[in-house]
C-alpha cells in the first residue's frame, strides 16, 4: 500500500519562519541586552543620587572612570571576538606605569640620559608591544590556550614590576614627580583635559558654578577623548573593514578561516599587541595625570575588562561581539564602580556585590539576544 503523497511544491522554506515586528528587529541588535542594563543603571543612579552623579563634576568623573574601563575593555573585546583572552592586561598596566614613571624619575635605560614624557612613553610602548607580541606568538606557535599563557604573564609581569620597583627604586611607589602636563603638550595629551568648550558653554548658560561662585569644572579628562577615538576606530575596523571580517572569522572557526586564506596568526598576534597598547594608554593617562605610579596599579583590571566585554555582549567563545555594546558595558560598569558613591547610604563594600549582580544579569540578557540572532548556536 502506497500512502497518498501530498504535493508540497507550493510550500517554501520561508513559510517555516514566523516573522516579527519592529520591536523584534531592535531586540535582535547584538547591543540590545547591554543597552537595557545600562538604561537601568543610569536611571537608578540618577534618582538615588539626587542627580548629583550627573552634575558637572559628577559627569566628568564618571566619564573618567568609564573611559578607563572602556579603553581596556575595547582591547579585551576585540581579542575575545578573535577567540583569545588576555589575563595579563592588569599586570601590563602596572608594568607600563612603572616603566614610564621610573624613566621619568631615573632617566632612560642604557645611559640614554634623562627622559621626556615622549621618550618615556615611546620606549615603554615599544616594550609593551613587544611583550604583547611575545604573548601572541607563544599562544599561536604553541597552540596553548591563551588563558593559560596570559595567566603566566599575569604573574610574571606583576612580579617583574614589583622586583624592578624594589631593586631600582627601593620603593614600591613613585611620587613627587614634576607635573609634566603643565610643561609638555605630549603629557597633557594623556593627563590633561579636553573638550573644555562643553563646560565653558555650560557655565555661560548659567550652570557649572562651584561653591565659591566661579566656573567649577573646566573640561573632561583627556582620556575621555582617547576612549571615544579608540571606540570609533575599533567600531569601524570591526564592522566595516577586511581586518574586522578576519577578526570575526578567526574567533568563529580559526581552522576554516586559515584554510580560506585569513592570516589567522597575524590577526591574533596583532590583537595581543592591541590589548598591550590599550593597557599602555590606560597607564599613560594615569601617570601623566597624577605623576605617580605604584606596584599595585592595574591589579585585577583584566577581570574587569573581560567582565565589561561580556556585559557588552561579547561571546566568551569568540566570533561574536560589538564595540557599541562595549560602550554601553563600560558606562554601566563605570557607573556601578563610581556613581554608587554618590548614594550616601551605600558604602563601598557593596561594590563587588553590585558588580556580580550586574554581570550575571547582563550576561543572561545578552545570551537571549544572541540566541535570537544566531539561531541558538
Amino acid at each position: 500500500m502506497s500512502d497518498t503523497t501530498k504535493n508540497s511544491a507550493e510550500r517554501k522554506e520561508a513559510d517555516r519562519l514566523q516573522s516579527g515586528g519592529l520591536l523584534s528587529v531592535l531586540k535582535r541588535r547584538p547591543e540590545a541586552g547591554s543597552f537595557l542594563v545600562m538604561l537601568v543603571a543610569v536611571i537608578v543612579i540618577s534618582f538615588a543620587s539626587n542627580g548629583n552623579a550627573f552634575n558637572p563634576l559628577g559627569l566628568k568623573n564618571n566619564f573618567t572612570v568609564i573611559s578607563q574601563f572602556g579603553i581596556i575593555a575595547t582591547g579585551a573585546c576585540l581579542l575575545m571576538i578573535a577567540g583569545d583572552f588576555d589575563l595579563s592586561i592588569g599586570s601590563m598596566i602596572g608594568f607600563a606605569g612603572m616603566s614610564m614613571a621610573m624613566m621619568l624619575k631615573w632617566g632612560l635605560p642604557f645611559g640614554l640620559g634623562a627622559a621626556t614624557p615622549f621618550t618615556a612613553f615611546l620606549l615603554t610602548l615599544v616594550m609593551t608591544l613587544a611583550i604583547g607580541w611575545l604573548i601572541g606568538t607563544i599562544v599561536v606557535r604553541s597552540k596553548l590556550s591563551s588563558f593559560i599563557v596570559s595567566l603566566a604573564f599575569l604573574f610574571f609581569l606583576r612580579g617583574v614590576t614589583e622586583v624592578s620597583f624594589r631593586l631600582i627604586n627601593q620603593s614600591t611607589q613613585i611620587s613627587g614627580l614634576q607635573d609634566f602636563k603643565e610643561t609638555s603638550w605630549f603629557a597633557a595629551m594623556f593627563g590633561g583635559q579636553a573638550l573644555g568648550w562643553f563646560y565653558d558653554t555650560w557655565f555661560a548658560l548659567g550652570g557649572n558654578i562651584n561653591r565659591a561662585g566661579n566656573q567649577w569644572v573646566t573640561g573632561f579628562d583627556a582620556r575621555f577623548l582617547w576612549w571615544v577615538g579608540l571606540s570609533l576606530v575599533a567600531y569601524i575596523v570591526l564592522s566595516r573593514t577586511q581586518a574586522g571580517n578576519w577578526i570575526f572569522a578567526t574567533g568563529d572557526n580559526s581552522e576554516s578561516a586559515r584554510a580560506n586564506g585569513v592570516p589567522v596568526d597575524k590577526v591574533r598576534i596583532s590583537l595581543f599587541m592591541f590589548t598591550a597598547f590599550c593597557a599602555t594608554l590606560f597607564a599613560a593617562c594615569q601617570v601623566f595625570d597624577t605623576n605617580t605610579a605604584d606596584a599595585a596599579k592595574g591589579n585585577l583590571k583584566e577581570l574587569e575588562a573581560i567582565a565589561i566585554a561580556v556585559v557588552g555582549g561579547t561571546l566568551m567563545t569568540g566570533g561574536f561581539g560589538s564595540v557599541i555594546g562595549i560602550v554601553f558595558g563600560a558606562i554601566t560598569f563605570g557607573l556601578v564602580a563610581n556613581a554608587v558613591f554618590f548614594i550616601p547610604s551605600i558604602d563601598g563594600s557593596y561594590y563587588r556585590v553590585f558588580v556580580g549582580v550586574v554581570l550575571l544579569t547582563a550576561v543572561f540578557l545578552n545570551e537571549s539576544v544572541r540566541k535570537r540572532i544566531t539561531g541558538g548556536l
Binding site: S49, N52, A53, N55, L57, G58, N61, N62, T64, V65, Q68, E162, R166, Q170, S171, T172, Q173, S175, G176, N210, R211, A212, W216, V217, C285, Q286, D289, T290, N291, T292, D294, A295, A296, K297, G298, N299, K301, A337, N338, A339, F341, F342, I343, P344, D347, G348, S349, Y351
Partner: protein, 283 residues
Amino acid sequence: ERYVMITHTQGTDPFWPVVEKGGRDAAEDIGVEFEYNFAPSGDMSDMARLIESAAATQPDGLIVSLPDADALGGAIRAAAESGIPVITINSGLESSKSVGALMHIGQPEKLAGFAAGERAMAEGGTKALCLNQEAYNTALVDRCQGYFDATGQELNMIDVSNDVSQIKTRTAAALQADPEIDSLLAVGPHVCEAAAAAVKEVGAQIHLACFDMTPGVINLIKDGDVAYTIDQQQYLQGYMPVAVLHLYNTNAGMMPGSNIPSGPGFVDASNAAAVEVQAGVTR
C-alpha cells in the same frame, strides 16, 4: 648571625621598603646577615606559613609584624619555643607578649588612628570620612576605627580601590553625596595624594589627614593641602629589632626594659621641610 624579618604586605605597599631598609642598614652597620620577606597574597594564614618556613631555616632571630595575633600566634609561639628569639614590630603591641615575643617595637594602628582623629577634632573637624584602599585589610580598617573612636562618631569608611583615578573620583563623589563632611582620613600615601586632588575639584574646605609619607605628600603638606600625616617612623621598626637581637644574642640576653614606641609622630607644616629628603627612604 642571621636575622629574618617577615611582614604583612602584598608587596605593593610603599611603607615596607622603608622598614626593610632600616633592617638592612642595621645589619650592615652591625655586620650580620639579614633577610626580608612577605606573603604576596596578603592572607594571614599564608603569612603564618611563611613564619614557619623562616623558623625552619633556623635563624638567630625573627622579626615579625603582628596584625593578627590569632592567625600568626601559633607559628610565632612555636618558633619562640624552639629557641628562636622573636621581636614583634609595627602592629600587635597588645599581643606581643602572649605570642612569646621578647618585646614589641612599633605603634598600634588603632592608637595611631586615634591620635590622628584627636588632632583633627582639635583643628575643627566635625563630620569625618575615612578613605580606605583595601577595605579587607584589617590594619587599615583599624586606623579608620581609631580615628572615629577619637571623634566619637560611627565608623564611616568607603573603599576607594587602589586605582589612583578611582580614588579621586570616588572621593569626589562621596564628598558631594554628603556636603557636611569636613574632615578626611586617607590611610595610605597614594590615597592622600588623590584625595587632595578630589578636595580641590569639589571646591570644599576639608581637613585632610593622612598616613605615611611620600615626596608627593610632603609637597601637599608644604602647600597646606594636607594638615598632617602620621609618621610611624617605621625605619626604627626595621633598625631597632636587628640591633636589639644582636645585643640579646651576643651580650648574654641584654634587653631594653620595655617596648619601644616608634610613633606616632606627626609630620606637618612645621617639620615637613626637614623630613622631605627622607620621605619614602628612611621615613
